[in-house]
């Protein structure tokens, strides 16, 4: 069994409004050493899908059906204790806002070391050495371990987040819009770093983004979500070059290209609002 992650028939609703499906019958798979991009606009359910994998949905939301198989184990059947053992250790996470995801009153070295102590029981010199090596892996001088988050730039903070997320060498990394808040040159560096780490550590990466440019750069496989449903999925070249679903085609047509060769074509939502998702 080579599959790292298999989501089957995932459906999420608001607890107070169970008829309104926010994520509807979503299924996808992820292999080790590969990147699956989940792409969609706001409200498409891409972040909820990621949160459901981690079992981090808020109490107002309810997963009413579906399984999340991680290395063959259904995460939806685990209790809090068991889940805590997986999060950060076997599944790493990175979020969009490197400014708010770090604790401002703790040094970055301490924050990177925390999960190593909790999950692997590392202490003292061994811990310090491991933190230093992680910082260097993400391209930050090891002396920066004593810095506080506000002394680092946005790109460096996101590198710290990445160091934290890979500290325990997880089998899978979930990255939710990790470069959206960053400048374009910094974004390019972070994408390159993630791609290198993925290959070196043979991690599977579930990468959430709204940006088709980022998809083209980092994805092996793509899942396109629209209003809670997967409308199209496949290898990146196929989805980007020969999109099958009208929504994927329409969405790709509104992405401005850097060469200015194609005319922008906004989505005509009339057909969507009329009959829901066309077949």
């Amino acid at each position: 069994m080579t599959e790292l992650l298999r989501i089957e028939g995932l459906t999420i609703v608001p607890a107070a409004m169970p008829e309104r499906m926010l994520v509807k019958d979503v299924s996808l798979t992820l292999q080790p050493g590969r990147t699956t991009c989940v792409v969609g606009e706001s409200g498409s359910g891409k972040s909820l899908t990621a949160l459901a994998v981690m079992q981090l949905l808020s109490k107002q939301l309810k997963q009413i059906s579906g399984r999340v198989l991680f290395q063959g184990q259904d995460l939806t059947t685990l209790n809090h204790e068991q889940m805590r053992d997986i999060r950060g250790k076997r599944i790493g996470m990175i979020f969009q806002e490197p400014m708010t995801s770090l604790n401002p009153v703790l040094t970055v070295g301490y924050q990177i070391g925390e999960s190593l102590t909790v999950h692997l029981g590392l202490k003292g010199k061994a811990l310090k050495a491991r933190v230093a090596s992680l910082l260097e892996q993400v391209g930050i001088p090891a002396t920066r371990a004593d810095s506080y988050p506000d002394e680092l730039s946005g790109g460096q903070r996101q590198r710290v987040m990445i160091a934290m997320s890979i500290a325990c060498e997880p089998a899978m990394l979930i990255a939710d819009e990790p470069t959206t808040a960053l400048d374009v040159t910094v974004q390019a560096q972070i994408l390159k770093l993630l791609d290198e780490l993925k290959t070196r550590m043979n991690m599977g990466m579930l990468f959430i983004t709204h940006d088709f440019g980022v998809v083209a750069d980092i994805a092996d496989d793509v899942v396109v979500m629209f209003r809670g449903e997967i409308v199209e999925s496949g290898p990146v070249a196929q989805v980007l070059n020969q999109p099958q679903h009208p929504y994927t085609k329409a969405l790709l047509a509104c992405v401005p290209d850097a060469d200015g060769k194609k005319a922008l074509q906004p989505i005509d939502y009339a057909w969507i609002d009329g009959d829901g998702v066309p077949a």
Partner: protein, 270 residues
């Protein structure tokens, strides 16, 4: 030079920032460091740069929303810094702004009709009937309806709010519109709609746009000329075709190479 609507000459602006542990030290930040730039009438000049490059400071200083340390801004040949407050207000009618955050830039307690009409009221243009007529016409032009006048901002989506922001700016029939990252907060499908709307309105109303953006893909589609800012300096200024085809500065090359999906997506022709 009648074909230049806005001309900035040797602009300087310095901020003092607290630095070091506990913010006891202070550092001077050169947000604008000898910036000179011309905007041609009826065209779009995009100012691009990364965060902290000074592009938003430039926009604010051009509109006299922030005082300059040094330098002059000529709008239709008039030096804005030399005007009295009342004269400046007169000129402001012709210089409008569209903001980035469609959620923060509309007063949540005002109805859309009031928001769009406010500029007309302040400038004392027309009587109540004429104002209402203008507001309705403008709302319809940006894709909203007469009924929307009675609604409050929270009843609209991000893209609709940006349309309201555009209507508010354009109802005064300005000559210059400064757009500060007007589509950065929007989904890509909405972004395309707003960009096309801005382009159409430019043609119809002969508007000149100063378009502040960090997104080089968007800029490629909207701009006639591009000015690249880096650490407060304007390092390169050219037509959009020339700059994208043959950037002269190393920094510009790096920026262009960092555009995500440049190779992968350009194959795609929808």
């Amino acid at each position: 030079m009648s074909d230049v609507i806005l001309s900035a000459r040797h602009l300087f602006k310095t901020y003092t920032q607290r630095s070091g542990r506990l913010g006891l030290g202070s550092t001077k930040i050169h947000a604008l460091d000898d910036v000179s730039v011309d905007l041609k009438t009826g065209s779009t000049l995009a100012v691009v740069g990364e965060s902290g490059s000074g592009k938003s400071t430039l926009a604010r200083c051009l509109l006299q929303l922030q005082p300059l340390d040094q330098g002059e801004v000529l709008f239709q040949g008039v030096d804005l810094a030399k005007l009295t407050a009342a004269e400046l207000r007169q000129q402001r009618r012709d210089m409008q702004m569209v903001f980035q955050d469609p959620f923060a830039s509309l007063n949540p307690r005002m109805r859309i009709g009031e928001i769009v009409a406010e500029g007309l009221l302040i400038h004392g243009l027309g009587n109540a009937d004429e104002r209402e007529h203008k507001v309705i016409k403008m709302l319809k032009r940006v894709g909203l309806t007469e009924a929307d006048m009675k609604k409050y901002p929270h009843q609209f989506s991000g893209g609709q709010r940006q349309r309201i922001g555009i209507a508010r700016a354009l109802v005064l029939e300005p000559k210059l519109v400064v757009c500060d990252e007007p589509v950065s907060a929007l989904d890509v499908s909405i972004q395309a709609q707003i960009l096309l709307l801005l382009k159409e309105l430019q043609q119809e109303m002969n508007l000149s746009y100063l378009f502040i953006s960090h997104d080089l893909r968007v800029v490629r589609h909207i701009a006639d000329e591009v000015a690249v800012m880096h650490r407060g300096k304007l390092i390169e200024h050219d037509t959009v075709e020339a700059l994208y085809a043959a950037p002269k500065q190393e920094y510009t090359k790096n920026l262009l190479n960092a555009i995500p999906g440049r190779k992968g997506l350009s194959v795609q022709t929808a």
